[in-house]
């Protein structure tokens, strides 16, 4: 396998090098560097959005989720993603319309301009920082678990993480957002191809779909229905997950920015359904891998299952491609998020373009080092940690939505979202009760956040209307 691995890695690194070279321009402005000149077409847009969305968490977390919690994993991610892409049709339009009016350098700066309040920008930045750092660390943790299981004596866990972070820094600092988008496109194609090859191989090794499902039913029938053997996929969990995932483009800046930098609304709309198709295509084979895992590796650890199913049970070229595909998946999501943090910081800065760009590049380096440190202390629960990140950032969604909808958004939403975010963080730190009324924290928070935000927005809409009429 080593020969194949060297071959595919060399090819992948050459593609990355070429992408950085093509994206590099000596006299670029910070807008060219951070927002790719805001002139991205629908194909590159769809690939970069999909690659940022589907990552190590999909590639590794979802097969394990299917294996451990059963078929409800499909509803948890695929149905929620399909709802999210529908939301993009309207949100992409409303966001771009407002961004054209007030300007856009990042979500934090955009919200700050709309609310005419610096705390609005800080709130968005804090939320991104708090929840993207662990999310990025999950990706790095995921790939290091896998590579360490695959090559136990080569280098330690943190060594793999460091290689990934250094590689990401080098090419993103050279090529900016455009290089990241090109690498996303490469990764998207690799990921889809690899996951289908592995998925079909696993399906065949499980004896086909029907026979595999029959074996699963014999060993653990609870995997074939909701809420799954551990009771995870209850209705409140699935609904809260769907809300958190639908709000990803609103509250996770790496996606919001991608909607703005596309060259036209038509591109956004094409991208939306293309991402939906990609979601179905990429999640389906993870179910096959999970099914195979449930039949053959029902009781082993996550790392053992993944290294066996993705690597040792595959033919050498496929296994080598899986390593490169996983590495690429992890890299593209990681750099999208770290870069988004840089973009958010830049959008809050005032001063000369050159100075802001220098500060942003330095900040990206610092964020990367924080992530590297964080990745060494993460747990192996990839999907659950990703979900916490989605839910955490969604607490500021009312602020972003109001900024997009209203000319003068209601400031009371800043207090509401600030309180929701604070409670969510405190509940994670176990300083306040995690959840109430029999619901988990996020589901319980949505029960308050959504109706209260709706009431504030409706009241604001009518009060504005009355003011204008008067």
């Amino acid at each position: 396998m080593t020969g194949w691995l060297i071959f595919f890695f060399t090819l992948f690194l050459a593609c990355l090098g070429f992408a950085s070279y093509k994206s590099y321009s000596k006299n670029r402005s910070s807008d060219d560097f951070m927002l790719a000149g805001s002139n991205i077409g629908s194909i590159l847009g769809f690939l970069t959005f999909s690659a940022a969305l589907f990552s190590a968490f999909t590639f590794m977390g979802m097969p394990d989720f299917f294996r451990v919690h059963g078929v409800g994993a499909w509803i948890f991610l695929a149905v929620s993603d399909a709802l999210m892409v529908f939301m993009l049709i309207w949100f992409g339009y409303a966001l771009r319309k407002k961004a054209a009016q007030v300007g856009y350098k990042g979500v934090a700066g955009f919200v700050q301009s709309c609310f005419q309040n610096k705390w609005a920008g800080y709130l968005v930045f804090i939320s991104s920082f708090l929840f993207l750092i662990p999310y990025v660390a999950i990706q790095i943790r995921g790939i290091s678990i896998f590579l360490n299981a695959a090559f136990p004596d080569l280098i330690p866990d943190w060594g793999w993480s460091a290689v990934l972070v250094v590689l990401m820094l080098v090419y993103s600092e050279i090529g900016g957002l455009k290089a990241i988008m090109y690498s996303d496109a490469i990764q998207g194609v690799i990921m889809l191809a690899v996951i289908w090859i592995i998925g079909l191989t696993c399906l065949s090794m499980a004896g086909g779909l029907e026979a595999g499902l029959a074996k699963v039913e014999q060993s653990n029938a609870a995997l074939l229905s909701l809420p799954g053997p551990k009771g995870l996929f209850s209705s409140p969990f699935l609904i809260a997950s769907a809300i958190a995932i639908v709000l990803i483009p609103v509250s996770q800046p790496q996606f919001t920015t991608r909607l703005v930098v596309l060259k036209s609304l038509k591109s956004v709309h094409k991208m939306a359904y293309a991402v939906g198709i990609f979601a179905v295509l990429v999640i389906l084979p993870t179910a096959f891998i999970g099914l195979y895992g449930a039949v053959k590796y029902p009781d082993v650890s996550t790392a053992e299952f993944l290294s066996a199913a993705l690597l040792f049970d595959q033919a050498s070229p496929v296994a080598a491609l899986a390593v490169v595909g996983l590495f690429a998946a992890c890299l593209s999501t990681t750099n999208a998020q770290i870069f988004a943090l840089g973009t958010e910081l830049r959008s809050l800065l005032s001063g000369s373009d050159k100075r802001n760009m220098r500060i942003t590049q330095l900040a990206i380096l610092i964020f990367s080092l924080i992530v590297l440190g964080f990745s060494t202390i993460m747990s192996d629960e990839l999907v659950m940690l990703a979900r916490v990140s989605f839910a955490g950032t969604s607490m500021i969604a009312p602020v972003v939505l109001a900024a997009v909808i209203f000319k003068h958004p209601p400031r009371s939403l800043l207090i509401l979202s600030g309180l929701a975010l604070t409670y969510f963080v405190l509940s994670l730190l176990e300083l306040v009760p995690a959840g109430f009324a029999g619901l988990q924290t996020d589901a319980a928070m949505y029960c308050i956040l959504i109706p209260v935000s709706a009431v504030i927005m409706i009241a604001h809409y009518f009060s504005q209307k009355t003011t204008h009429e008067a």
Partner: protein, 70 residues
């Protein structure tokens, strides 16, 4: 006309979403199966595909256009 079709698509998405999460995705329900595939999986697959098709239709019938950006 475009606006009416868009509103209809939004209505269908809302009914499909609420209907699925409240009535379709029921606990401990394996049957009826489709080609050996348990109920939750095939209905979930169907709902996801329908939502993507509705997204495609939504993109065709979205009533607003954006002004050319400066």
């Amino acid at each position: 006309m475009k606006s009416k079709i868009w509103n209809l698509i939004v209505l269908v998405v809302l009914i499909l979403s609420f209907g699925s999460f409240l009535f379709l995705f029921k606990e401990n329900k394996i049957d009826p199966r489709l080609g050996g595939i348990p109920f939750v999986f095939w209905t979930g697959l169907l709902v996801a595909i329908l939502l993507v098709v509705l997204t495609f239709l939504g993109s065709r019938f979205f009533p607003h256009e954006e002004n050319k950006r400066a």
